[in-house]
């Protein structure tokens, strides 16, 4: 027996929202999803009129939905934002080369300018070669550090004053759990913010911060958005994978758990006197860093000197900047 849309619009419901338990038809779901992102943007003051925004675009579900919704809301509510797509080519054969084709389709479908920046051009290394050098154990560390800086550099080149990323509610809840399990108090304190900025670095904003992964995938499905969903060919981030599975199993029992974890993360109060890293600039590349040499340059130096095989030191884990 068909379930009716909770809004009494008279249409048949097509999904149950995990966040609220309400049942909505396709039209009311689109409206609810888009309106919530609009509220996240306006209540958090994520952007200002005239701002150039670089949307980090991987071709995956989250950034595809982000690009679509940002474009849609910018037109609907006249934010007056200048939106651009920014993609990073890590140099992973059979993965990123395919997903970049999806981003190129997004560029045409949404009529947004696109810039692609490669690790090869920026660092002289592709991830394929990094993996040849360091193996499949620590490669995600290299990739993550390089991508973070590459996005920053690309956004600066495009004249953008902020970077919007597709991080969703599930991602943030996972990160809260991971930071608790790692004892990373500094990151725990800031990982829930919809907008993070540090001196000298461009602010990063997360307009999909309160969007459940289920709803992002349903939105893409019903809007018929094209996205790329192949897993990276190199070892997945195993630690995050465990946090993710744990969270998904909890979600099945109690769907609100994702919002509840974010709520907990947002309301934690930290002892004063906990040492947080001082931001400065890297003596080699000039980018923001809490150390003499930024983490990207440290890793690059180890690659170029042939020392990266020895693995990533524990120390470098502690100095990552947000």
């Amino acid at each position: 027996m068909p379930v009716s849309c909770t809004t009494n619009c008279g249409r048949k419901a097509i999904l149950r929202r995990p966040k609220t338990g309400t049942s909505l038809c396709k039209e009311c779901f689109f409206d609810a999803f888009e309106t919530e992102v609009h509220h996240t943007i306006t209540s958090g003051k994520l952007f200002f009129p005239g701002q150039v925004v670089a949307i980090g675009a991987s071709g995956g579900k989250d950034s595809t939905v982000l690009a679509y919704v940002m474009k849609f809301l910018n037109d609907k509510y006249d934010y007056k934002l200048n939106l651009m797509l920014l993609s990073i080519d890590e140099g992973i054969t059979g993965y990123r080369d395919d997903s970049l084709n999806t981003v190129k389709e997004n560029k045409n479908d949404y009529q947004l300018p696109l810039k692609i920046l490669s690790y090869q051009d920026l660092y002289g290394w592709t991830m394929d070669r990094v993996v040849e050098e360091v193996g499949k154990k620590n490669n995600c560390t290299f990739c993550g550090v390089f991508r973070r800086q590459a996005l920053e550099r690309g956004a600066v080149m495009m004249g953008a004053s902020c970077i919007a990323t597709g991080h969703n509610a599930d991602d943030i809840a996972e990160t809260v759990l991971m930071n608790i399990m790692r004892g990373d108090v500094a990151r725990l304190g800031r990982c829930c913010a919809a907008i993070t900025s540090s001196d000298g670095a461009l602010p990063r904003v997360k307009p999909l911060k309160f969007c459940y992964e289920k709803e992002i995938v349903m939105y893409a499905y019903f809007r018929k958005l094209k996205y790329f969903s192949t897993e990276c060919v190199y070892a997945p981030n195993a630690y995050r994978g465990h946090a993710r599975n744990f969270l998904k199993e909890l979600e099945r029992i109690r769907p609100s758990v994702i919002m509840d974890i974010i709520h907990s993360g947002e309301n934690l109060v930290f002892q004063t006197g906990i040492k947080t890293p001082q931001q400065g600039t890297c003596s080699s590349c000039g980018h923001v860093s809490s150390q003499e040499l930024c983490q990207a340059c440290t890793l690059l130096l180890s690659l170029n000197e042939g020392k990266a095989k020895q693995g990533v030191s524990k120390k470098s884990h502690k100095i990552r900047s947000t």
């Binding site: 419901a13 097509i14 999904l15 991987s58 499905y221 192949t230 897993e231 599975n245 979600e251």
Partner: protein, 102 residues
Amino acid sequence: MGSGSLKISVHFGGGAEILFDNLKQHDLELPLDNGTWNLKRLIAWIRDNKMKSKQELFVKDDSVRPGILVLVNDTDWDLLGQTDYELCDGDQVHFISTLHGG
């Protein structure tokens, strides 16, 4: 109970197709000899007949692995009784992974 068959099509997306030789659509004819088919029975049948390995990436505890969305004729299975939903001739079942990429 009359014999015959139930014709449905099953679609995999969002990366779930990787578990099925990258084939996104599978048209199935299921025998009706042993009674009706609900989604629980279909999931077990897929596990036993369409997968050679990595079954744990699709199935968990008589259902799909958490993080895989299920829709029947474009309706979320959460509105249809999930695994208890009884399949009808011509049903289109979608299994969409949310676990891939970002």
